[in-house]
């Protein structure tokens, strides 16, 4: 890190301006979507080399998780991708359920699916807003925020929080929907599709928008897989990989939806894929709402779901405690959680979010690994930005849809 600063300093002091032009983009920059720092080597305005530097938002979630019990860990997951925290909650909960061998009731599955898809709509709306703002279209930004606000209000009714919900619990969800929420969601699903059309009319046929997005940052299917890109970015390149279809979790197996894919793998295709996903998410919510009426009154939490405060250690009481000098209590330790490992991944709005958890039988995870999509996507920036202009770099950061809390953990 210091080396770059040294280069900068040396250049200024010795007035060596013939050398490549270095530019430090970030960590404080309006359009790096957080504290991403990009060290650019420029020739004119063309990017010769681009080095992303992350870690400014590193909070040590993985280390912290080792000191907290499983239910507390879900609270940490909210802070990863704070734009779509319901998806993160679900990923964590799925991994822990797999580890503990819990079966989630159907109603809880449906509720989770609804919440996850709401998170996807929230995320894509925010993405569209900021992406358009980065490219310069200001009005879309505020239109999108209006709808996102509506969803956040519904979230508030569901669980009391707007961004960091912790609504999903191990073994189910925290509480059932009220009728009011269901009515509100019905209203939303009805009014939302025409609004997507509105947004499209704002920018879709705009010549400047097309010029700025078509043919920018083209990634072939092969490269995309090799770079580990997932989510809409991968689908924009024409690979129909979607965890919801490939390894269905929650209620995704029983709902009907299409996985949209692009052809050319450029910024415009990724934009189209995300717009189509908004429609599909709306459809999924609608179907799940219809199915909710079938499961009226069923529990939303598995019976054997762990208590919110999992004890760290449990001792099996001995049938006949032998009183002995100096030893007050004796017993054999029993695992609270089955020891072993579990891997679960979901299709978070940004891409594949995978959780790998190793348990040692105590109430706390031995090791919790989170594979976040933003981390992988940022690592692909140097590949995508090569030989593009600075203005394109902004479009690339926007199209990858990154959140630094997600990547730095």
């Amino acid at each position: 890190m210091t080396t770059y600063l040294e280069i900068n300093k040396k250049q200024v002091n010795e007035e060596k301006w013939e050398e490549p032009f270095y530019l430090n983009m970030g960590p404080q920059h309006p359009s790096t979507h957080g504290v991403l720092r990009l060290f650019l080597e420029l020739e004119g305005e063309t990017i010769v080399n681009c080095t992303p530097i992350i870690g400014y938002l590193h909070r040590g979630v993985e280390k912290l998780a080792e000191t907290l019990n499983y239910n507390q860990t879900i609270v940490l997951s909210d802070r990863l991708d704070y734009i779509a925290s319901a998806a993160n909650n679900t990923a964590f909960a799925l991994a822990f359920e797999k580890l503990m061998g819990l079966e989630v009731p159907r109603r809880a599955k449906l509720l989770r699916t609804i919440v996850c898809e709401m998170a996807r709509i929230c995320n894509h709306l925010l993405w569209l807003a900021t992406h358009a703002l980065d490219i310069g279209a200001m009005t879309v930004f505020l239109y999108c925020f209006r709808d996102r606000e509506w969803l956040l209000n519904i979230y508030e009714k569901i669980c009391g929080a707007r961004l960091t919900h912790t609504y999903v619990r191990i073994g189910g969800v925290r509480q059932d929907f009220t009728q009011e929420i269901i009515d509100e969601l019905y209203k939303f699903t009805e009014e939302f599709p025409p609004r997507i059309y509105d947004y499209e009319t704002l920018i879709d046929v705009n010549r400047i928008w097309l010029k700025r997005t078509k043919g920018i940052a083209v990634v072939s299917a092969e490269d995309a897989i090799n770079l580990g890109l997932t989510g809409p970015v991968l689908r924009g390149s024409g690979v129909p990989y979607d965890v919801r279809k490939f390894r269905p979790y929650d209620a995704y197996g029983e709902v009907d939806f299409i996985v949209p894919t692009g052809k050319n793998g450029d910024t415009y295709d990724r934009y189209r894929v995300r717009m189509e996903e908004l429609r599909q998410s709306n459809r999924i919510i609608r179907q799940c709402l219809d199915k909710l009426s079938e499961t009226e009154g069923e529990p939303v939490l598995a019976e054997n779901a762990p208590d919110l405060l999992i004890p760290e250690k449990v001792r099996k009481p001995e049938p006949k405690p032998v009183p002995k000098k100096g030893v007050i209590f004796k017993g054999e330790e029993v695992p609270v959680v089955p020891p072993g490992e579990a891997f679960a991944s979901i299709e978070s709005p940004k891409g594949e979010l995978a959780v790998y958890v190793v348990s040692d039988g105590s109430g706390k995870p031995w090791r919790l690994r989170v594979r976040t999509p933003s981390f992988v996507h940022i690592s692909a920036i140097p590949f995508m930005a090569k030989n593009h202009l600075i203005a394109d770099l902004i479009a690339i950061i926007g199209t990858l849809d990154i959140v630094l809390g997600d990547s730095d953990r």
């Binding site: 200024v12 032009f21 270095y22 530019l23 430090n24 920059h29 309006p30 359009s31 305005e45 358009a132 703002l133 980065d134 490219i135 310069g136 279209a137 200001m138 009005t139 930004f141 505020l142 239109y143 209006r146 920018i203 705009n206 400047i208 928008w209 010029k211 700025r212 202009l389 600075i390 203005a391 394109d392 902004i394």
Partner: protein, 326 residues
């Protein structure tokens, strides 16, 4: 001697009136922009300071005046100090040449159009110098972009105006308006529609407004050439931008829309028609800003050199040809 002093006093009074009107317009242009864009984006806009937020521009000015004027370490101080003023003076002086009314034009010189073009070219110096003096890479890139952009769009704009000059047969702005009144269409917008389009697009680019706001592209270069400025010097750049908008719109009104002339005379308000046309053009500026995304740098240059300049040249030849025949 007494005559000269009388004349001087009358000129000074006229200048002060003009300056006050122009400053008020510029201040309330910022307010209008915020309000109009807010309406277009379904929000309220400023509404806290004064009734309907009408005192907002004054509050902003006071706030910026009382802020600390930061001078970053390592800047080229004399140039850093003077650059915003170059921008402002060059942008603002153009107002003096615009004939607001038959009997109200501060300096009626024979090469009015040429003078305004020269001033708007000079205002690029403010941008370039500030970008250079700031000793910051973002500002430097912004300055570079600005210079390239202003130079290339200057040509298209001059070509558009040249067609008007050809039709009117004069470089004097009052003469141009008079020539328009005497022409069969009353305004030059109809015969010179192509030139008008070229002029408006280049004028937007000249003022660094969306979709050509590359020198100050907020999301790319943070704020471009004035990224290191603060307080009053920062405000002056804004003032210069809005002055530029007013002058360019006023020039368009004078050269294409018939100046002070309207379909009927409005008693006691001699500027009425001029201002109506001016406000309409300013509204177009704001409208464009709320609607369009930003061009990329190379696309912007492409538009300038490959589309606007050829179109301008063809229009110029066409005008000359028609003038020769009739």
């Amino acid at each position: 001697m007494g005559e000269v002093i009388d004349r001087l006093i009358s000129i000074i009074i006229a200048a002060v009136i003009l300056l006050v009107i122009a400053l008020l317009h510029v201040a309330y242009l910022t307010y209008a922009e915020r309000k109009i864009i807010a309406r277009m984006q379904q929000r309220l806009g400023p509404n806290r300071v004064g009734p309907r937020g009408l005192l907002q521009p004054i509050a902003d000015m006071l706030k910026l005046l009382t802020k600390e004027d930061l001078i970053p370490y390592g800047v080229d101080k004399p140039i850093f100090y003077i650059a915003p003023f170059i921008s402002l003076v060059c942008a603002g002086t153009g107002v003096a040449l615009i004939p607001l009314w038959e009997k109200f034009v501060l300096s009626n010189i024979n090469v009015g159009i040429l003078f305004i073009l020269a001033l708007s070219s000079l205002s690029a110096y403010g941008v370039i110098l500030s970008g250079w003096a700031s000793n910051s890479r973002y500002a430097f890139l912004g300055g570079l972009r600005a210079s390239a952009q202003v130079i290339s769009y200057e040509i298209a704009m001059s070509l558009a105006l040249l067609s008007v000059v050809l039709m009117a047969g004069s470089l004097n702005l009052v003469d141009i308006v008079n020539a328009q009144i005497n022409s069969p269409y009353k305004i030059y917008l109809i015969p010179q529609i192509i030139a008008f389009y070229v002029f408006i697009i280049s004028a937007i680019a000249e003022c660094n407004r969306v979709p050509f706001d590359l020198p100050e592209a907020e999301t790319e270069l943070v704020a471009g050439y004035f990224v290191e400025y603060s307080a009053m010097r920062f405000a002056i750049f804004y003032l210069a931008e809005y002055f530029g908008m007013v002058v360019m719109s006023a020039l368009a009104v004078t050269c294409f829309l018939g100046g002070w002339v309207g379909p009927f005379k409005v008693p006691y308000v001699p500027f009425f028609w001029f201002l109506i046309k001016l406000y309409f053009l300013l509204f177009v500026y704001i409208w464009v800003r709320a609607t369009l995304p930003r061009y990329r740098y190379d696309q912007l240059m492409g538009l300038g050199w490959k589309v606007l300049i050829p179109v301008g040249i063809i229009n110029l030849f066409l005008t000359a040809f028609l003038k020769l025949i009739f």
